[in-house]
């Protein structure tokens, strides 16, 4: 069967690759809804260095996706079952190493085709059932799984004092980190620090929000997450080091194209632990899907979704990426190609 794969060939230039899909031992999934990640947008706009673009393109974008099982020769899923797709393909397994950091692991939409295609074929362990969860919200499962991963790692590494957790950033990652914290560390006070008052107003479920230029000097947090990314990384990490108590743990999630200088003198003096986090694995997807069974969580996640018109042509792909530049949080769309 011929599959249509919608590849980004050059920034803002999409072409179709036709490929015979091998469905012999895999599950055949029809993508139904997708959401755009900042990483997709960077590739789409060409905001990566030229060497990286040359190495990774052409490839299909999008790794936040849920779909419908069309057929499954392994017998794991029912026809029509709603699933989220795990974009991480594990590499060489070593005990104690998370699947998303294994050497040789691959990430679909970073050097390998993502989910912008007519069909996707995946092994059954790369799919998680989300039956009963609306498609639009289910697209957030990948992002929530990354938050679950980061919070779990901080939980394992951090000292026992967790009265106050600071989240630096007011975008989608900060939002899902706050959601995951609210579930996994319900006794902690969550304080979110951001630059945009309108975006901070969406964090109605946290204890406090502060504009970054107006943080009280005596405000202290036990642990923190950096979710600013981009040019905001430097200021966020600087603020965290200033406001975190000694021996705190910092989860880093923001991606920057440039090297970020860090006040290591203060890191050493305070005895801080910095943990880098990216992507997630099957365990975190399962936990995120479980979290989404709660209507409260679904409504919370749903509050940052902007659903654009369905994608029915290549022109529509360009349209959703343009829309995403003007939406404060997540752009979600139905995939009808």
């Amino acid at each position: 069967m011929i599959n249509y794969i919608y590849q980004l060939v050059n920034p803002q230039f999409i072409s179709v690759k036709y490929e015979d899909a091998d469905i012999s031992d895999n599950v055949l999934v029809r993508p139904r809804y997708m959401s755009i990640c900042r990483a997709d947008q960077r590739y789409y706009l060409g905001n990566r260095d030229l060497k990286t673009l040359a190495q990774k393109l052409p490839m299909a974008l999008i790794h936040e996706c849920c779909g419908e099982v069309l057929s499954d020769k392994t017998g794991t899923f029912k026809q029509g079952e709603r699933v989220v797709l795990i974009p991480n393909i594990p590499g060489y397994e070593r005990e104690g190493i998370y699947e998303n950091y294994q050497e040789g692991s691959r990430f679909l939409s970073s050097g390998y085709d993502g989910f912008m295609s007519e069909f996707v074929t995946l092994p059954p362990d790369r799919l998680v059932s989300v039956q009963g969860i609306p498609y639009q919200t289910a697209t957030m499962c990948e992002m929530l799984s990354v938050a679950v991963h980061a919070v779990s790692r901080l939980d394992k590494a951090a000292h026992k004092y967790r009265d106050t957790i600071g989240v630096w950033g007011d975008g989608s990652i900060a939002f899902v980190i706050a959601c995951a914290l609210k579930v996994k560390m319900p006794k902690s006070r969550i304080i979110v620090f951001g630059k945009n008052a309108r975006k901070l107003s969406r964090f109605s479920f946290v204890a406090e929000t502060h504009l970054t230029y107006n943080i009280p000097a005596d405000l202290k947090v036990d642990h923190a997450f950096e979710c600013a990314g981009g040019e905001g990384c430097y200021d966020a990490i600087h603020d965290i080091i200033e406001h975190i108590r000694p021996q705190g743990t910092v989860g880093l999630l923001g991606v920057s194209e440039n090297y970020v200088s860090i006040d290591t003198r203060q890191v050493l003096e305070k005895g801080l632990t910095l943990i880098g986090n990216s992507r997630s694995g099957r365990e975190e997807f399962l936990e995120a899907a479980k979290m989404m069974e709660s209507q409260k969580i679904r409504r919370r996640l749903g509050s940052i979704i902007y659903e654009d018109e369905p994608v029915k042509s290549i022109d529509d792909i360009h349209r959703v990426f343009a829309t995403d530049l003007n939406t404060p949080f997540k752009t979600v769309f139905e995939w009808r190609l």
């Binding site: 069967m1 011929i2 249509y4 179709v16 036709y18 490929e19 015979d20 057929s71 029915k312 190609l337």
Partner: protein
């Protein structure tokens, strides 16, 4: 019920590159007709998919279904006819035999075996349009200017390209509507039919347009076949 009908009644005289009819030629690792059937099978809305096969090639098709693990309950064979419409009506007869009488809301989605690049979106749009409007045709806007010539020597007319489309398949119909319209045609009208949608058009029944894809090409000539091979990964030396 919703039925798929893959039209493969031809015996392959136009290609001249093989004794095999073109629908059986390999495209990447499989025969063209297998690609087409696999794509239609992904559409769970089809209760059954009929393959209208030239009687001489029936046993070859049966072997292919076995080989590619597609001898399924949803896949059925019907004898191809003298022409396209004969094959469609042979398939409708088989449906009536297999499932009893044709019901008022039964739909048939007819598709050329040699259009393996059809998409699930096109199939779903066809089903929806046939249910809602009774008949539909898959088209793409014409890109070349269409020139009419009655004598094959001089231009008679150049129609406005903006209102010109190229017909593809699937073409989909309410089965009862199609049968009723066909039965009302005179033999002289039936003789000039080259297309199933024309049955409706000749009797003034509206046929809705469904967006096709340029890539949903019909592999008819050697050039088409080469283009199709390039699209799915290039021509190998053995081809």
């Amino acid at each position: 019920m919703i039925y798929g009908a893959i039209l493969a009644g031809g015996s392959g005289t136009r290609m001249h590159i093989s004794s095999l009819p073109k629908q059986f030629l390999p495209l990447d690792k499989k025969p063209i007709i297998i690609h087409t059937l696999e794509k239609m099978l992904t559409c769970s809305r089809f209760d059954a998919i009929y393959l209208g096969i030239h009687p001489s090639w029936m046993s070859h098709m049966t072997d292919l279904l076995e080989k590619y693990d597609l001898a399924l309950k949803r896949v059925r064979l019907a004898p191809g006819g003298e022409n396209r419409n004969d094959t469609i009506f042979n398939i409708i007869d088989e449906i009536a035999k297999d499932y009893g009488a044709i019901e008022d809301d039964d739909i048939i989605v007819t598709h050329d075996a040699v259009r393996p690049f059809v998409t699930l979106r096109i199939l779903e749009d066809n089903i929806n349009a046939a249910i809602k409007f009774g008949a539909c045709d898959t088209v793409v806007p014409a890109t070349d200017t269409i020139v009419k010539s009655h004598d094959g020597a001089d231009i008679s007319e150049i129609p406005d390209r903006k209102i010109m489309y190229q017909g593809q398949t699937p073409q989909s119909f309410n089965i009862k509507l199609l049968k009723e319209l066909y039965s009302k045609l005179k033999p002289s009208e039936k003789a000039i039919l080259t297309d199933a949608c024309k049955i409706c058009v000749m009797r003034g029944t509206p046929v809705k347009l469904v967006d096709g894809e340029i890539s949903n090409m019909k592999i008819t000539t050697v050039t088409d076949y080469k283009i199709a091979q390039v699209l799915v990964g290039g021509i190998k030396e053995s081809d």
